[in-house]
């Protein structure tokens, strides 16, 4: 227990020395809190329509102005954070889990399985992501769940490939060979020995993936293929703003800011984390 807390406090101490990483962490926490407490923080109901006050510039009533239906942009932005959060959480955890499983199977299993899986991964990755998303949406109709589904399908090969490479690298290490010689089952080896060693880089990858996933959801919602109106997602705010660009720039400015903050925050934080944990990982080596 003390070993773990030592590791965490050590990591945090290193993080404090990196201004960008700290800034990233602060941004991430701020955004998480703002999204979770959106109901408390939002001054208005994000769906409340007030056509007489449409497309206003920022006022004391509406800090970020109003959109084309008179809805308060700030409130919509805050609630949009919830959508982004939900998508990121669901999509990443599912694709990570499945990718982990498939990747370990490919890396540790028989050659034919590896070849088969790699071909599947490469096939899925041969589609430009948004194009694939559009093709699916064309068939099933727009919905947030479709977006999450598409993100998952296109993310799995990425995680799986990395897990596969790591698993392959570890497979030939002495301690694994020793375990096999002692008759340990594949499941045991995978879960007790391989998994802990790939967990850290995988988690860093996942946190670096958040900006991409959030960006993709925003992009698809921007195209009108994600959330259905009147739900507020950062992408749909931008979409609305785009149609009324010449009337008021504020929806676009306001919609873009949280996206920029989220992507910058998670990326700076993730990079910093990776720099801190990497040399440590190399120094440790071997299974826990």
């Amino acid at each position: 227990m003390s070993k773990e807390s030592g590791f965490l406090s050590e990591t945090f101490a290193s993080l404090r020395k990196d201004p960008l990483g700290m800034a990233g962490l602060i941004l991430v926490v701020m955004i998480l809190l703002a999204s979770i407490f959106a109901s408390q923080l939002a001054p208005h109901d994000p769906l409340e329509v007030d056509v007489y006050n449409r497309l206003q510039s920022p006022t004391w009533q509406h800090w970020l102005g109003t959109d084309q239906l008179g809805r308060d942009v700030l409130s919509r932005v805050l609630f949009g954070g919830r959508i982004a959060l939900k998508v990121a959480l669901v999509a990443i955890s599912i694709s990570l889990s499945i990718g982990l499983l498939l990747g370990m199977m490919a890396g540790f299993g028989p050659q034919w399985l590896d070849r088969l899986l790699v071909v599947c991964f490469d096939t899925l990755r041969s589609f430009p992501t948004i194009m694939f998303a559009l093709a699916v949406v064309a068939l099933t109709g727009p919905s947030l769940n479709t977006v999450i589904g598409v993100i998952i399908i296109t993310s799995i090969p990425v995680y799986a490939r990395i897990v596969r490479t790591q698993t392959q690298a570890l497979r030939d290490h002495d301690f694994i060979l020793a375990e096999r010689a002692m008759g340990a089952s594949t499941a045991r080896i995978l879960s007790y020995h391989i998994l802990p060693n790939i967990a850290a880089p995988l988690l860093i990858l996942a946190s670096m993936d958040v900006p991409a996933v959030v960006g993709m959801e925003a992009g698809l919602s921007f195209l009108g293929l994600g959330v259905s109106p009147p739900t507020a997602s950062w992408g749909s705010i931008l979409n609305d703003g785009y149609s009324y660009l010449r009337n008021s720039p504020w929806p676009i400015i306001a919609g873009g800011i949280p996206l920029i903050l989220v992507t910058l925050g998670f990326t700076f934080f993730g990079e910093s984390l990776r720099d801190i944990l990497d040399p440590k990982l190399r120094g440790k080596g071997g299974a826990s």
């Binding site: 041969s126 194009m131 093709a135 064309a138 400015i253």
Partner: protein, 317 residues
């Protein structure tokens, strides 16, 4: 070299085959009869009946797959539901615009990124290096369509430095170039950072290697060493990344086309999806996927041409 090309080409063909089959399968995995799915809910019953008959949709799946491929081989991607034009015609009409955009973005990104990366490596930890590093990460992270929107807002609508819409008058290269600037910047900005980082890391590694020390020991001028000896090796990873990155660029190009109302495959696809024009949707996705697979193949080949060590190794990356 020839063996390498053949091997990689066959693999690419296999992947393409599977991807296209997947698209085909998607149509048939949908609930409802395939004719409705293919032609969309807007098609008339007569059209659906004709399609069912023509495509033999009552026949076993494998036979249909065969017909599908036969059609593909003849370049027949189907017929547009609304205009009755050949999908292939429509798609290839729009393709050059997208290609121009992607090439402009890549060209700009490499022209800026490689020197930036090189200088960052030579003058490590200088102000230029640090600023480049932060900006690189920032622009890689921010979604390109957000950048596009902001560029549109500030430079096109607000300050009117660049046009906000379209591709420019046809035949007028200067005008078309002006219309390319903002979308290409939006698309390529992240890549400038990415390439700069890559080249920097590569250069730092290469400059430490023994053969650079040999070159110095023979008194070669530093500039020759940096540009002809070190950079030449250091840019190799960039080539691979670009080939793979074309896929991401195609996605980004879609957004750029929509934000700046440019003609192109992205815009075509988006409209087709909104109007449920399935043949056009499938045709566009097919063409772009093929393009992506081909570009990966080409970049692998160029990579092997530049780095002779890769030709003889058994496996590629």
């Amino acid at each position: 070299m020839l063996k390498f090309i053949t091997r990689r080409a066959l693999l690419a063909l296999l992947i393409l085959f599977l991807a296209v089959s997947l698209l085909f399968a998607m149509i048939h995995m949908m609930p409802g009869d395939p004719a409705s799915v293919i032609l969309g809910p807007k098609a008339s019953p007569a059209l659906k009946a004709e399609l069912s008959q023509r495509m033999g949709l009552d026949q076993p799946l494998l036979v249909q797959l065969g017909h599908f491929y036969a059609d593909l081989a003849r370049g027949n991607l189907g017929v547009d539901v609304f205009s009755d034009r050949q999908v292939s015609e429509i798609v290839f009409e729009q393709l050059p615009y997208t290609l121009a955009l992607v090439l402009a973005a890549i060209g700009g990104a490499t022209l800026l990124g490689i020197p930036l990366g090189c200088f960052s490596a030579i003058k490590r930890n200088s102000l230029l290096d640090r600023v480049t590093a932060v900006m690189s990460v920032a622009f890689i992270a921010i979604p390109s369509f957000v950048v596009a929107l902001y560029l549109l807002l500030w430079l096109a609508v607000n300050w009117r430095w660049f046009p906000a819409m379209g591709a420019g008058a046809s035949g007028d290269i200067a005008d078309q170039a002006r219309h390319l600037v903002l979308p290409a910047i939006a698309l390529g900005l992240g890549w400038v950072g990415y390439i700069a980082r890559l080249v920097r890391a590569s250069m730092l590694e290469v400059m430490e290697e023994n053969h650079i020390r040999t070159a110095r020991a023979f008194g070669l001028p530093e500039r020759t060493i940096i540009v002809h000896y070190a950079l030449r090796i250091a840019v190799l990873p960039t080539v691979t990344i670009l080939g793979l990155g074309i896929g991401a660029m195609l996605s980004g190009a879609l957004f750029a086309e929509i934000v700046f109302s440019r003609p192109g495959i992205g815009k075509l696809l988006h409209e087709a999806v909104s109007t449920r024009n399935y043949p056009v949707v499938m045709g566009s996705v097919l063409v772009t996927t093929t393009f992506f697979v081909l570009s990966t193949l080409v970049s692998d080949i160029i990579n092997a041409a530049l780095d002779p060590r890769l030709r003889d190794s058994g496996r590629s990356s």
